[in-house]
């Protein structure tokens, strides 16, 4: 998309900035007015930049005592009606999971940036990985829906950060922005004019009378309006299963109805949530599916393949979860084989294989802390076409 728009240097608004810098700029543009975080490599630059920029726009930055406190404070601020975000990396993302589930269940908008580094455990703090694809989707206990966005360039990090806030507000959901260490600290020249404006879709405010208002009674779109503390509604928010009143219930019918709605509010709004990019997929005999920095290499690999007469294409989910299944199926319609390069042992590949059942799906995995280079992807893609 914008990965190769680096010929703009010298133009007035061109800036050479890192991915984390773009994320901090995108947060302010996206209306973020509260950030709570805890230092962790390789995401700390986001916190550092927002500690400087938020007060100037009337916002608040706070460095909390730990990762759990950070996500808790973010959810608390959002419960107060303020667009809020935290940023972390693998170990911190693991620690935040219980409260991410709270935000999903209680339907509190918030944005969580996870800059992926090598794992498991402390792993390789300064090396890239893509090992949190499944944790981003399933990391908290219980069954819940979540939105996860995976940009592939510095410019797209900016755009997707803005979009993350708008989706969080619109769907009353936690939104995870997932990218890797290379993108976080890669500097690219970007032009930030024509940027998407913030606050396009604030959470729906409660409008009925306080006496009639039920905090989890959804409109036709499946999304309940949200009462702002101080507006007279005096509602109750809980992580316990609740009915429309917001108060705890274990009534099987009420529990099923509310949890089903939780899923349906994303399912029935996929047009507004799904996002992906295709590169030369129309006649692709081999389709490459990748995200983040690996997708950047894959885009180059498509060019290398085409130069050798191999008809390759790239499918790149930008909204990773919910996965754009129909778009992937359409992109893979002509493909004889699908290659999934990724910096883990097959998390994306497993999902692609599930969606494209019947098509040959192969992975190209790396867990060494190094990115995959275009020539490797091109060679493997060409071999797949030869039937090797």
């Amino acid at each position: 998309m914008n990965a190769h728009d680096s010929t703009l240097a010298g133009r007035p608004k061109a800036k050479l900035i890192s991915g984390n810098h773009a994320c901090a700029l995108g947060a302010v543009a996206g209306g973020c007015r509260f950030f709570a975080g805890y230092p962790i490599t390789p995401s700390s630059e986001i916190a550092e930049r927002l500690s400087r920029s938020l007060p100037g726009v009337g916002g608040v930055f706070v460095q909390m005592e730990d990762e759990i406190a950070s996500i808790a404070a973010v959810i608390g601020a959002s419960m107060g009606g303020v667009r809020s975000m935290t940023a972390t990396s693998g170990p911190g993302f693991s620690l935040k999971q219980e409260n991410i589930g709270y935000a999903a269940g209680a339907e509190i908008p918030c944005v969580i940036v996870n800059v992926m580094r090598g794992g498991p455990s402390t792993g390789m703090p300064t090396r890239p990985a893509q090992g949190d694809i499944m944790q981003a989707r399933w990391g908290s206990h219980g069954d819940y829906p979540i939105i996860v966005l995976t940009p592939w360039s510095v410019r797209e990090i900016f755009n997707e950060t803005v979009r993350a806030f708008n989706l969080a507000e619109q769907f009353r959901s936690p939104v995870v922005l997932l990218y890797d260490q290379v993108l976080a600290q890669l500097s690219e020249t970007v032009v930030l004019d024509g940027v998407p404006e913030a606050a396009q879709a604030d959470r729906k405010p409660a409008s009925s009378s306080p006496a009639e208002f039920k905090p989890y009674a959804a409109d036709a779109d499946g999304i309940p309006p949200m009462a702002r503390p101080g507006a007279g509604y005096r509602t109750h928010t809980t992580g316990l299963t609740h009915g429309e009143s917001g108060f705890p219930t274990q009534d099987p019918e009420a529990v099923t109805r509310n949890l089903s709605r939780l899923f349906s509010k994303l399912d029935r709004n996929r047009d507004a949530i799904d996002s992906w990019q295709t590169v030369q997929c129309d006649d692709a005999e081999v389709l490459i599916v990748a995200i983040g920095i690996t997708a950047r290499a894959a885009a180059r690999a498509v060019e290398l393949c085409r130069a050798r007469g191999v008809r390759a294409g790239l499918f790149r989910p930008i909204t990773l979860w919910p996965f754009p299944e129909a778009a992937l199926q359409a992109a893979a319609a002509q493909a004889r084989a699908v290659l999934v390069p990724e910096l883990n042992t097959g998390q994306l590949c497993r999902e692609v294989d599930r969606i494209l059942g019947g098509t040959r799906v192969e992975g190209l995995f790396r867990i060494s802390g190094e990115p995959i280079v275009p020539s490797e992807i091109a060679e493997r893609a060409a071999a797949l076409v030869r039937g090797a």
Partner: protein, 278 residues
């Protein structure tokens, strides 16, 4: 909604009647603590629309649902962290945290010490019933030594925490402790905490008659409350009796108070000064 504070206090004006009957056990001290809080809120004329109550998990955590205010029942141990975000984002709200001894001192201990250090304006009420009541009576950080719980069948061998000493050492602007036996006194302490400009920590000695009391043959609720009273050591004694912390001797009243700057105001002032420079 503003209630006429000159009017006589009627606890029903501050409760969600649709949530009754409540789920507390007979003899539990938590209801008394709740009444004292609401009484103090009434006397101070705090607008219910501007009152936010954040609570954690456990018996104490359940109290928020009964209060007719903006209430948030959050994850185990984290109410202070949620409240920190809420209070920083919305300085116009009056934020009160209700937590228990396990919620506040065990799983949430890190948040307590840093909330004390940070000194953001919050009122934290820790209802200490000396046990994990909701989960069936396991040992907590405040279970007295030698007493029985479902996980200390031979008697508790861990020393118990003095939450007020901890809060004071961590820098809390206001620290107090009271028992549920004397409700007007408890109300006065909570009232003083609510008006403190920084972080205020109040430990309320509650009693768990059904689970903890039964397990240790501590008698009925009145008997448990009288036992608490017999262990009191009024603050006034401190000047005359040099007594280091000893289990089963509870200093009560306002135990620590200081005028450290409130965090939210300090943050906004420093940020504004920097903005003015640049």
């Amino acid at each position: 909604m503003l209630i006429d504070q000159a009017a006589e206090f009627d606890v029903r004006d501050y409760l969600r009647k649709e949530m009754m009957p409540h789920f507390l056990c007979p003899g539990c001290g938590h209801g008394i603590a709740l009444r004292a809080l609401l009484w103090a809120v009434h006397e101070l004329g705090i607008d219910k629309d501007r009152l936010a109550v954040v609570s954690g998990i456990g018996c104490a955590g359940r109290l928020s649902a009964y209060i007719d205010a903006n209430t948030f029942h959050v994850t185990h141990g984290r109410p202070l962290a949620y409240a920190t975000g809420l209070a920083l984002a919305r300085p116009d709200l009056h934020v009160v945290v209700i937590t228990g001894d396990g919620d506040c001192l065990a799983i949430g201990g890190n948040h307590l010490i840093h909330a004390c250090r940070r000194n953001l304006k919050l009122t934290c009420l820790m209802l200490n019933n000396e046990v994990y009541g909701m989960t069936g009576g396991q040992v907590s950080p405040t279970t007295p030594e030698a007493l029985l719980t479902t996980t200390t069948p031979h008697g508790n061998t861990e020393p118990h925490f003095d939450a007020c000493a901890l809060a004071a050492a961590a820098g809390a602007g206001f620290v107090g402790r009271e028992v549920t036996l004397n409700v007007p006194k408890l109300k006065e302490l909570i009232r003083a905490a609510l008006t403190h400009p920084g972080f205020a920590f109040v430990e309320i000695m509650s009693d768990c008659t059904e689970i903890f009391g039964r397990k240790n043959d501590l008698g009925s609720s009145p008997e448990m409350m009288m036992r608490q009273k017999s262990e009191l050591r009024p603050t006034a004694y401190r000047d005359t009796v040099d007594m280091p912390f000893r289990p089963n001797h509870l200093p009560t009243g306002i135990l620590a108070k200081n005028d450290r700057p409130e965090y939210g105001a300090s943050y906004r002032r420093a940020a504004a000064a920097r903005e003015a420079q640049s």
